[in-house]
């Protein structure tokens, strides 16, 4: 069953496309890695899927049965880590759908928060301030918040950049268990070893789809070379082309 369908999707900034003519589907319950050269438009695709960036052309269709709200973890830089807020409070933000603007956090929800902190290995950190956390611990915390969102669809943008090996392994295992529970997960990654080991499906992107399908058939030497060539030939200032998707 289809979770998200892309139809001739073009996304970009200030009318210049960053990726164009994407057509395909993310199946419900699939675990897809999005890979490609630097600047291939991987983050742009996630922003588009989240509705943070309106399509220049084409369509994104979210299918019925997929929860309306997706959980999204952007690259870390955009957070204000000096804000005086505790680990427990940040994780609790994931409860937004239940608590909204005014409702309090009852004992049941409090237990859920504690459980999710335990799952990411942050038990005992609840009262710590976030600016006292290491990079790896902070990323674990954001995963705890993500777990509490209980979203059917989960989008992660380079979640392991500058994160220690042990945290990366823990979080990859967490992603795998979410996949086994039936979540639809899309992760932007650059480590191909991780992709081959953990991700059944891969979308290889270089401003357009190079290959999309089972990881073993996508990550071939020929495909990777082609992605590199297309990326290097890209003209930043090119106007939107008139080509139609086949």
């Amino acid at each position: 069953m289809t979770a998200i369908q892309l139809q001739d999707l073009t996304l970009g900034y200030e009318r210049h496309p960053a990726i164009h003519h994407l057509t395909g589907v993310f199946e419900q319950g699939s675990l897809t890695a999005v890979v490609g050269p630097n600047g291939a438009g991987k983050s742009t695709l996630l922003k588009g899927l989240m509705g943070l960036l309106p399509p220049l052309a084409g369509q994104i269709t979210w299918h019925v049965g997929v929860a309306k709200f997706a959980a999204y973890l952007p690259q870390q830089a955009e957070l204000e880590i000096d804000f005086p807020i505790t680990v427990e409070e940040v994780a609790s933000l994931g409860l937004w759908q239940q608590i909204g603007w005014f409702r309090g956090i009852n004992q049941l929800l409090r237990t859920k928060v504690a459980e999710s902190l335990a799952k990411v290995g942050l038990s005992g950190f609840a009262r710590r301030e976030v600016n006292s956390l290491s990079g790896g611990q902070f990323q674990r915390l954001l995963f705890a918040r993500l777990l509490l969102q209980e979203a059917q669809v989960i989008l992660l943008d380079e979640p392991f950049t500058a994160i220690d090996q042990r945290t990366t392994t823990d979080l990859l295992n967490l992603i795998t268990s979410l996949y086994q529970q039936g979540h639809t997960i899309i992760v932007v990654l650059h480590d191909l070893t991780q992709v081959k080991q953990y991700f059944p499906s891969t979308l290889l992107l270089a401003r357009e789809t190079i290959a999309w399908g089972p990881t073993t058939t996508v990550l071939t030497t020929a495909n990777l070379a082609r992605a590199q060539v297309i990326q290097e030939a890209w003209d930043e200032q090119a106007p939107i082309c008139g080509r139609r998707a086949s």
């Binding site: 989240m50 952007p74 204000e80 804000f83 005086p84 937004w96 759908q97 603007w101």
Partner: protein, 290 residues
């Protein structure tokens, strides 16, 4: 001179001192929490730009209607909102970053304001608008100050949760559809409203001081957001009270006296605050060496 004469007598004896104390205390209640959020959102400069922008609006009101409180306030409100929005738009639509757009706007506003006042008024009028005339608050001004604080605190309480998320992780607020830019606009409007109500008491140039200095002081004393707000309010009230006394006994202009008092409290906190104070650092250092 005993402590009664020093600290209480002026307020017992003079109506204008009582008015000044009540008015500025009302201001301080709203200013302190707003300042904490401005500080944490790294928007001190935005606050500065807005407070300067109020001047030409006020001046225009002055030019058209003389020293009429409604005209001055309305002018200030419109100008403040206009600059807040324009600076945001300029940063989004041009290559100029937000700090540059803000600097541009507040320099233009200040010059325009001074020019407009000098067209009609005297230097005394200009000084009053720039630095306030706290000792001349009448019933209407007190009512305005009290109303604005009465509006500010509940609104802040209502938007508190999304505002915190907006400060900490704005992208997250957008992905959970928590009302991203609306929250920002409501918050900015509160800042403008408060700076407008404060200009008469503290002056357009001084008002920001009562917002930012107690907030910065609170950051040194408190670890949590609640703690910061709970610290900033008494600090602001204390600054207002001591500042007024200084201004009375030493015959100083009251606006600057209040802001300098806040500054003094901040400096003292830099030395002795438990969280990040200088003494604490020195002690910790010795401890590590030992």
């Amino acid at each position: 001179m005993n402590i009664w004469d020093l600290a209480v007598q002026p307020f017992v004896e003079f109506m204008f001192m009582r008015r000044a104390l009540i008015g500025t205390t009302a201001l301080a209640l709203g200013y302190a929490p707003l300042g904490v959020f401005l500080l944490l959102r790294r928007m001190s400069l935005m606050g500065d730009a807005i407070s300067h922008a109020i001047l030409p609006g006020v001046a225009l009101g002055f030019l058209l209607c003389g020293m009429s409180l409604p005209a001055l306030s309305l002018g200030g409100l419109l100008a403040g909102l206009a600059v807040a929005l324009a600076a945001g738009a300029m940063a989004r639509l041009t290559i100029l970053r937000e700090d540059a757009s803000l600097a541009v706007f507040y320099l233009i506003s200040l010059s325009l304001g001074v020019l407009l006042v000098s067209l009609k008024g005297s230097n005394v009028d200009l000084l009053h608008l720039l630095f306030g005339s706290i000792l001349a608050l009448d019933n209407n001004s007190l009512l305005l100050l009290a109303s604005v604080t009465t509006i500010t605190l509940p609104v802040l309480a209502i938007i508190y949760r999304p505002l915190v998320i907006e400060c900490f992780d704005p992208v997250f607020l957008r992905t959970i559809r928590g009302g991203g830019s609306a929250i920002h606009l409501i918050f900015l409007s509160l800042v403008v409203l408060n700076l407008v109500s404060g200009f008469q008491a503290l002056g357009t140039l001084m008002a920001m001081g009562l917002m930012m200095l107690p907030a910065a002081t609170a950051r040194l004393w408190a670890r949590s957001l609640d703690g910061m707000i709970a610290t900033a309010i008494p600090v602001a009230v204390m600054a207002v009270y001591i500042g007024l006394l200084l201004s009375y006994h030493m015959d100083l202009p009251s606006g600057p006296a209040i802001i300098l008092t806040s500054g003094g409290i901040l400096m003292l906190s830099l030395l002795i605050a438990p969280y990040q104070g200088l003494f604490k650092r020195l002690l910790t250092h010795t401890h590590l060496e030992g």
